[in-house]
């Protein structure tokens, strides 16, 4: 089976600066048709042709799933990142033709929930934009708690307040406002599902407190796309394809494998879906596992790696690809 997802040819129909860090991009289908239906929490992988190289970044769809004339994503500029968000900010303009993937949802609503309790941090608000739209249209019960650094960086906070009023609660770091998490988690009605999306520290904190307070694991949902981290270059031998490649400082292992002409499977490119899992045949050195897919035990065993986000430091590495 071929890899990734079906692709869509789109044109950028609008580019809207939202605040000093975030820009919103609108896509329409080049053939004028409707885009595929999606569900709240879905993302698309956006292909960026940056000179010689192709960057592939996942972004959550933030529009209402009820309107598929266009897709919208919001991109937070990351000046220290590997350049995908900078490319979007600097080079992508209205009229640009791009290729994106079909929507994939790795953060879907549990439709059995009697109530949906949502916790967002920073740009982690985007999947909730679509989820709240979906729930609101259907009379769904939700409550959103949104933390941001300052009011001016509260991306879409005003819009959400305007749309959903008291169902949205805002917290600003610069005013020392904090979610009273234990109280919040302890006061929810039975049948509530918890969703969290934001920086990994926040996700860890929320998941830990929920577990400590007795929330069953299947009622706690989180989405964290670990962007691949830059790091020291390293060499890899691909046993099946018989190639030896170098993974550059700003490149992910997955990208290096693709650049070598091998077509490995992937879906999220963020260490959460499990699709890119690869067996380690031999190694002399240390893994830097950045994924959220393998268990801690698997990390320790050094027998598997998720090439979309993980790296290696050491003398030699042989993978089954």
């Amino acid at each position: 089976m071929s890899t990734g997802t079906t692709k869509l040819d789109v044109v950028v129909s609008d580019v809207v600066p939202v605040n000093e860090l975030v820009t919103r991009f609108h896509f329409r289908r080049r053939d004028g048709q409707l885009l595929p239906t999606f569900s709240g929490g879905a993302h698309v992988v956006v292909e960026m042709r940056d000179g010689e190289r192709t960057r592939l970044n996942p972004y959550s769809l933030m529009g209402s799933p009820l309107d598929t004339r266009e897709y919208t994503i919001s991109v937070r500029r990351d000046d220290a990142g590997r350049g995908g968000s900078l490319f979007m900010h600097r080079h992508v303009r209205r009229g640009h033709e791009m290729v994106i993937s079909y929507p994939v949802n790795l953060f879907s609503l549990d439709l059995r929930a009697r109530k949906h309790l949502m916790l967002a941090g920073g740009i982690g608000i985007t999947p909730f934009m679509a989820q709240t739209a979906q729930l609101a249209a259907d009379g769904g019960n939700f409550e959103l708690h949104y933390t941001c650094r300052t009011a001016s960086l509260g991306t879409y906070a005003d819009l959400l307040r305007q749309r959903y009023e008291r169902r949205v609660r805002l917290y600003h770091d610069d005013r020392d406002e904090r979610i009273e998490l234990d109280r919040l988690l302890s006061s929810q009605p039975l049948g509530t599902h918890l969703y969290v999306c934001g920086p990994s520290g926040m996700i860890g904190w929320v998941c830990d407190r929920a577990a400590a307070l007795g929330w069953p694991a299947e009622t706690v949902h989180f989405e964290h796309f670990a962007a691949p981290q830059p790091g020291a270059p390293f060499d890899v031998t691909l046993a099946v394809s018989g190639k030896t490649i170098r993974v550059g400082e700003q490149q992910s292992l997955l990208e290096a494998i693709e650049a070598a002409g091998v077509d490995p499977p992937y879906l999220c490119r963020g260490g959460v879906c499990g699709q890119c899992e690869t067996n380690v045949i031999a190694h002399d050195g240390n893994f830097i596992h950045n994924d959220h897919w393998l268990s801690e035990e698997e990390h320790r065993s050094c027998k598997k790696i998720m090439p979309c986000v993980s790296r290696f430091e050491g003398r030699s590495l042989v993978l089954e690809r």
């Binding site: 089976m1 071929s2 997802t5 079906t6 595929p36 239906t37 999606f38 569900s39 929490g41 879905a42 799933p65 079909y102 929507p103 994939v104 949802n105 879907s108 549990d110 439709l111 059995r112 694991a217 299947e218 879906l267 879906c273 499990g274 699709q275």
Partner: protein, 346 residues
């Protein structure tokens, strides 16, 4: 052009049969002279014209009769169709998928017109012309899943995806090979597969689940499965075992050709867009031995496959009682010459 729908029954007098064109398009499941259990999943893409894969949702000459048989099953046992409350959205997803695909593949028989959420569905073979509001349950005569699956051939299992697993939370199952929706509803992937033998190799299931949970919108997949049924019964459910179980003791050298049917299931797997659920349409094709052996290649190959089938598998597929009779009958049609590779007839 259009399809000429047959008048036939799948019970009592068993008048079901395949036209010569339909024999040739039968999805014969053996591509070589032996059979081994495998997770043989491949992309569900369009196949050759005239085959059952000409459209992604196949409608054939048995459509009207099958829908009548389904209505009879449901009248006797409404539990064959169930949907847990959180699955209504997935039901709308399925309604959209089936209406779209049937209208696309068979415009002379089905028409779908949409104006926003105002939809009109015309199903000429069944004499239906309904207007409704997409998403509004009060505007369709049944729940959305039941409404459309009363008009679509095959069984349908709708699965909710959560906690890295799939849950059988809705379905329309009236033509099944010995399993029961009422028993499996609410179970997860491992629970409902628990009875399969030879798969103590749990690894197969872990891999299959991983594959299925990764099924992407716009990229359906499929596999073929097979068993045998005595008499062309669509409904071989555990609930009705007392009706079809004893049939197996009625096979004689004289009636093999008429009674024994190869039953092939074309299972496809689709991601549903709004609910993020997965649907497995399980489409059942029946062919009696007399029809099958009109294709000499299939006769020779089926003889070898059934003869060499491992004991446990033959037991699992319920063939034990009449296997010897069947092999003996088929052996007369096997001159020992080689069969060509691939599924199709020569």
């Amino acid at each position: 052009m259009g399809i000429t729908f047959r008048k036939e029954t799948f019970r009592d007098d068993f008048t079901f049969s395949n036209s010569p064109e339909h024999i040739r398009r039968f999805p014969f499941p053996f591509h070589e002279d032996s059979y081994m259990y495998a997770v043989n999943i491949e992309p569900h893409v369009l196949g050759p014209k005239g085959s059952v894969l000409e459209n992604l949702i196949d409608v054939d000459e048995h459509y009207v009769a099958e829908m009548q048989d389904r209505a009879l099953v449901l009248a006797e046992d409404p539990l064959r169709c169930q949907s847990l409350p959180h699955m209504t959205l997935a039901g709308w997803d399925l309604l959209e998928l089936l209406m779209e695909q049937q209208a696309l593949g068979y415009p002379e028989h089905f028409t779908l017109t949409r104006d926003g959420d105002k939809w009109r569905w015309i199903n000429r073979p069944l004499g239906i012309d309904d207007s409704f509001t997409f998403g509004d349950v009060s505007t369709v005569p049944y729940g959305p899943m039941e409404y459309i699956t009363r008009q679509s051939q095959g069984d349908f299992c709708i699965l909710d995806q959560r906690d890295g697993n799939l849950w059988m939370d809705a379905g329309m199952v009236t033509t099944q090979a010995d399993w029961s929706l009422d028993f499996d509803i609410g179970m997860n992937f491992f629970e409902w597969h628990a009875p399969v033998p030879l798969a103590h190799e749990k690894g197969i299931f872990v891999r299959a689940l991983k594959f299925l949970t990764n099924i992407q919108q716009g990229k359906p997949a499929r596999r073929l499965n097979w068993t045998m049924t005595i008499n062309p019964r669509l409904d071989t459910s555990p609930e009705n075992y007392h009706k079809w179980g004893p049939d197996r003791a009625t096979v004689t050298p004289e009636n093999v050709g008429d009674k024994v049917h190869l039953r092939v299931e074309l299972q496809s797997f689709w991601r549903l867009p709004r609910s993020n659920g997965i649907v497995f349409p399980i489409r059942c094709y029946l062919i009696k031995m007399d029809e099958l052996v009109t294709q000499p290649k299939w006769a020779r190959r089926l003889h070898r496959v059934i003869r060499d089938l491992p004991e446990e598998l033959a037991n699992y597929k319920g063939l034990t009682r009449y296997r010897a009779t069947l092999v003996e009958w088929l052996s007369k049609l096997d001159d020992g010459s080689p069969t060509s590779p691939g599924f199709g007839p020569d």
